[in-house]
Point group: C2
Chain length 286, copies 2
């Protein structure tokens, strides 16, 4: 079954059409229960070509309100977000984050920051050392908090017809990014996000994903679903989808290997432990 | 200004009413642009008392389709989810995850798993060692992927009128949880999620959050917004909101200190580095 290109943005299709675009298979019977929220989420595609049109008033505030409405461990709210509109600053961030031109092009760049410095401020005010602050689990908690917040913002922004793309490459040179953003100690830009109206001359289609049964396990993790046949079939789907988007032919397996079979492919991220220590994180064990 | 209790579930209020409930301040002028998606996200509240009613058919599949539609670094899809319906299994997980009774009560428990084992399988098939697999950044990437997926699922589930609560306590005893779920090496249950219809006899209200200007920075991180006065005012709001829900009076600062001022308050999570190593993660530096 060929991949379905859903060119309308935002979601106008039914959930069943989106299922077919995502998985390349017929939707389940009975059909998925419709929900405007689930439909909008299923219609996500990363946008890397933006129109210069600015965001409407109030959209950033609504997105951050959605972000702050996400769950946060023990209400610690261990994250911050830096909204960068300044063009020159975006150009410098683009340089530092993998030379990705869309960062300079999109009118807004959001840096999602795992932020333990605010908690530290609370500790100082009460004269407490907060030893838990230096535990690896606290860093992980902060990263999770940040990601949940970012994803709520992404969903809200897309619901206004905007396009987004995550920028993991802010971790290529985390100290330089921290300097550019003026981050205090114990704050790491975990991911970036370029935001703007999609350039309609460069539409993107929904990217195929692994079959649901490979990812969703019932009662107990079952390694069997990731059988070689599943992976081989998905490899072919990815290769065909990339060809239809005029991207270099590459299977999913080839992408995974390109990313993980050579530490140099991490573009500096192999030094994250040292960078975190230099930025004031300790990641202790008890 | 007193906190607004929004007892309807799911979101029926306007975004401006939800803003007031979340921040305790008048909404911005001009009003936030309405969006059913943003409104649903802003209406989130964690549910810890569930009705035994089972989920409607197709809702889990829709939620996982939404989860798989979230962005994922380099399309690696480095996560899995284990859906646990079995009552006895949920009771055992409840024991392991902080003895939280709602895990046994809610009809569905989702374990969101940072999963590098599937990528390893791809490497083995191609006879590649995948050194990038052992980098701290790859673990962080996998945690982010997992959190983005989980949050999309949460948003989808809530849009069907279901309630959810995250369970970070799956990291109290990560190895025992892995055994219970049958996880392969290099797979960590990053967070759990109890899912079900909220028990209408125990409604929950929207939890107050820090003022938006404390979290949202413009162009550059500004430590000034977390001024003592902002924190003190928020401390009072949290204390009042807890009192109105018959919870022990405690300010935000007190909660933060209770969590971080004593490694024992981490309930085992202080041993995460050792647990990760025992589970096959290496978190190398280059």
């Amino acid at each position: 079954m060929s991949d379905v290109t859903v060119s309308s943005f935002p979601a106008l299709s039914s959930m069943n059409a989106l299922w077919q675009a995502r998985y390349g298979t017929r939707p389940p019977t009975p059909p998925l229960p419709e929900s405007p929220v689930a439909r909008s989420l299923m219609a996500h595609r990363s946008v890397r070509a933006f129109s210069p049109t600015a965001l409407p008033e109030g959209v950033l505030e609504a997105a951050v309100a959605a972000a702050q409405s996400a769950s946060t461990a023990c209400n610690m709210q261990a994250w911050s977000v830096v909204a960068v509109q300044d063009e020159q600053k975006r150009a410098r961030i683009a340089e530092l984050a993998g030379e990705q031109a869309f960062i300079a092009q999109a009118p807004l760049f959001l840096a999602w920051v795992a932020d333990l410095s605010r908690l530290e401020q609370v500790g100082r005010a009460q004269d407490c050392a907060l030893p838990g602050r230096d535990m690896l689990d606290t860093f992980v908690t902060s990263v999770i908090d940040t990601a949940l917040a970012a994803q709520n913002a992404a969903a809200a922004l897309e619901s206004y017809g905007l396009g987004i793309v995550y920028v993991g490459a802010v971790r290529n040179q985390p100290e330089a990014i921290a300097t550019e953003l003026g981050l205090p100690p114990r704050a790491l830009a975990v991911c970036g996000m370029s935001v703007g109206y999609p350039d309609r001359n460069h539409p993107t289609s929904i990217r195929p994903r692994l079959p649901q049964h490979v990812v969703l396990h019932r009662e107990r993790y079952d390694a069997q679903p990731s059988a070689p046949a599943d992976i081989a079939a998905y490899d072919e789907r990815v290769r065909a989808a990339r060809a239809s988007q005029d991207q270099p032919a590459r299977s999913w397996s080839e992408s995974v290997l390109a990313r993980l079979d050579n530490a140099a492919a991490l573009h500096g991220r192999e030094h994250l432990p040292q960078a975190l220590r230099a930025m004031g994180f300790r990641l202790d064990q008890a």
